[in-house]
Symmetry: C2
Subunit: 455 residues, 2 copies
């Protein structure tokens, strides 16, 4: 009867149960952290009218869109969570309270060229704070601090959030009289990490952009400013007074740096970095990228920034905001690929497996009910199989406790609880079993999905 | 600049934040309950190769599929979670441990005719237990007991899980020599609730099915067997010994009934009901439907049953299973529509809103950090707004506690914590504030999303 080979499309991540549990633990850590900071969950459709989703139009993204007709309707799958947020806020403006803090963790779709580590269906995990007309600068420090907390809670250690401010960049180019060319320049400078200073200089003075050697030098000197955050900020003070926008950006960057510390991000985990520009014209203030210190080649694992006009295609209301996005599927792939995922996390589908040794299952069911009422995830293995196979089931799934319940135990009002790791087996009443298992689980459930072996 | 009207497609549910919190609470209740019973979470792609997804082919469903080409690839959006499960189990057979218990809560797509309360994108929440070759009957009692626990935990009271066994029906028709026609008969009998006994008899003796009056009478008499579960089971004993399949089905139904009680489902919440057949040939043993007692017109809110061959299109392995599915989006719509959703649930995006009264936000940030570390969901309202507007923000979002932090409080090492409901305001240290707020939240968080006003 079987006539179709079961397969999953290339570019679509589908995980085995234990890996799925690790992924879900990471997603849950994000949800819990976002909620602690007062963000509300949104869930928008995966399909939107193409006219709405592609209101901005053009660009590289549009070619990758999953777009199709259903009857007479032109539909598209969302390619990020920002455009649906813009739509949502514009559409529900009258029913929302600002500043509007929302998180969304959801799948998005891009028809990328099939390639190892590139996904066509992938999760993004976004937080944004949207103001009505105005938005305080402190939000620009709080957003990356949330990411710091979330990554740390997953077990990630060696990462750094790199921060810059677009006003500083735009102000600097204005000083040099290069405002018109600033977009081209920033896109070029963005390649510094990849192609090096010499090639960047070549591109800047090339025909297309056409800077003088002196201008290119000044730009490279500027973006070469490095050192501790205090050193970089001090170096930037040397440019103060030459352009209003630059000065405003520097004030913002000082404030963000100060509040990042207040929000608990240690100096080791954020760096003022003038090379961060984010390619998009969309951003107008603070911008972020996040790198894994031991794997800079992976690029940013979490990026975002401040923007002035979230929903300009849908409403004339001025809706400034600040947001950040994690490409969760790609991050998970990278973590697995680089050996960061450990089995320290309890990924078993159950905490206890009851093995009934009597034909009547009622006593086993009663015990399971008690365990579950106490919050212990419990299965009953009621299949007609050999004892060895049943124990093998617990073993394969790494279920930490097996509980044997035979005639003798039932008559004595106990069950035999076996710690599958140590092999230790004790006869306990239901209440004792619950306490015993919970004590063991408390330790077991301290495990995190990520083990960051870096210093 | 605004040039596109923001809108959401018809048939796609998109909720405002407080409603979304209610929906998420229901979904989380399902997840927690499923996990307590040892089910592992799966997350399969929304898009599959059409060839794979439509392996079974034909049927009403295929017309509703969202199917499209991307480049040369023929793709379809999943229309349920069962076919992707079948694919997954067949594909990963060697890496899974059986019985395999999985839950999945995810969106599925059907191009239904647009109609109030009908959704084109909707959540299904499924649990299934898949055996390798065999599967014990006790699983057929455990599955509906999980649904009982989950619905009860949401606040739903007046519902009933109706249980039958396809072997009883098939055995009964075999007794009458009507095996060949049993499919047609069952589809007709299924309409009993909607069109009444007389019209059903008319259809049964009509040209298409062609039963004798005596046969139709016997069928109607059989499915009219009503009463307490014990009464129905006793009446069924009267047919014992006339057909092997019937007898086997009756044994199974007796066992399921017995274990349903053992699993803690009260007699008031399940009924042996011989009219339940489930239209699909797929089911071979116990079948379930769940009705809201005060709204039978809504039909089943949770259905499923036992099947013998999950993945016959993908593998020659015999994979019997039992599963049940909740149409969560539709259920949510119905609950809202019928006035079951209450504001008893705490749907605020935060538990506490800090209102800093000083220019330097550092003390407010430090307090927020302490509250968050204690698990209190906290926002800082740092916007340049009038005091009244800031309090209005807490009010509109139903944030239960507002915390004022001015120069005086900072110097005294306290903050002023206001209970937004009672208006009571007290000056407390950070530790006192945490204890105070947590005590209040404990009560507040007892609220459930559903208030079932029925007796």
């Amino acid at each position: 009867m079987a006539n179709v080979q079961p397969r999953t499309l290339s570019g679509f991540m589908e995980l085995l149960p234990a890996r799925q549990a690790q992924f879900d633990h990471m997603a849950d850590t994000l949800k819990k952290t976002y909620a602690l900071y007062g963000f509300t969950a949104l869930d928008t459709p995966l399909i939107e009218a193409s006219e709405v989703l592609l209101a901005k139009g053009g660009g590289e993204t549009e070619k990758q869109i999953y777009r199709f007709m259903k009857g007479d309707t032109d539909l598209s799958l969302r390619f990020d969570l920002t455009v649906p947020l813009a739509k949502y806020v514009a559409q529900n403006y009258a029913n929302l309270t600002f500043p509007f803090r929302r998180f969304q963790i959801g799948k998005v779709y891009r028809g990328e060229r099939a390639q190892r580590g590139r996904f066509r269906e992938f999760y993004q995990a976004d937080i944004d704070i949207i103001g009505d007309g105005k938005l305080d600068i402190s939000n620009e420090a709080e957003i990356p601090s949330i990411i710091y907390k979330a990554f740390t809670a997953m077990g990630l250690r060696r990462f750094q959030i790199r921060v810059n401010n677009r006003k500083i960049l735009n102000g600097f180019y204005a000083m040099l009289g290069l405002t018109e060319k600033s977009g081209d320049i920033m896109r070029t400078v963005d390649k510094l990490d990849k192609i090096g200073a010499e090639k960047v200089a070549g591109l800047l003075t090339g025909e297309e952009i056409g800077l003088t050697d002196a201008q290119a030098d000044e730009i490279l000197k500027f973006i070469a400013i490095k050192g501790s955050n205090a050193e970089v900020l001090t170096a930037l003070e040397g440019y103060r007074g030459r352009h209003e926008l630059f000065d405003l950006g520097l004030d913002e960057l000082n404030t963000v740096t100060k509040y990042l510390s207040a929000f608990g991000v240690p100096e080791s985990h954020f760096a003022v970095d003038l090379t961060i520009a984010r390619g998009l014209d969309y951003y107008t203030g603070t911008v972020y990228e996040t790198t894994m210190l031991d794997h800079p080649e992976i690029g940013s694992i979490c990026s975002g920034g401040r923007y002035d006009n979230l929903a300009e295609y849908y409403t004339d209301k001025q809706l400034p905001g600040v947001g950040i996005s994690i490409g969760l599927t790609r991050l998970f792939f990278v973590l697995e690929d680089q050996g960061y995922l450990t089995d320290a996390l309890n990924t078993a589908p159950a905490d206890a497996l009851i093995l009934p040794m009597t034909e009547d299952l009622a006593p086993a069911i009663a015990l399971a009910t008690q365990l579950r009422a106490a919050g212990i995830r419990t299965q009953i293995h009621a299949e007609q199989k050999k004892f060895k196979q049943k124990i093998g089931y617990a073993d394969k799934l790494a279920i930490p406790y097996a509980i044997f319940l035979g005639e003798d135990e039932i008559n004595a009002g106990v069950s035999a609880v076996k710690d599958m790791k140590t092999g230790e087996q004790v006869k306990l009443t239901a209440d004792e079993a619950i306490a015993h298992i919970k004590a063991g689980l408390a330790k077991l459930n301290e495990g995190l999905p990520i083990l960051d072996k870096g210093e």
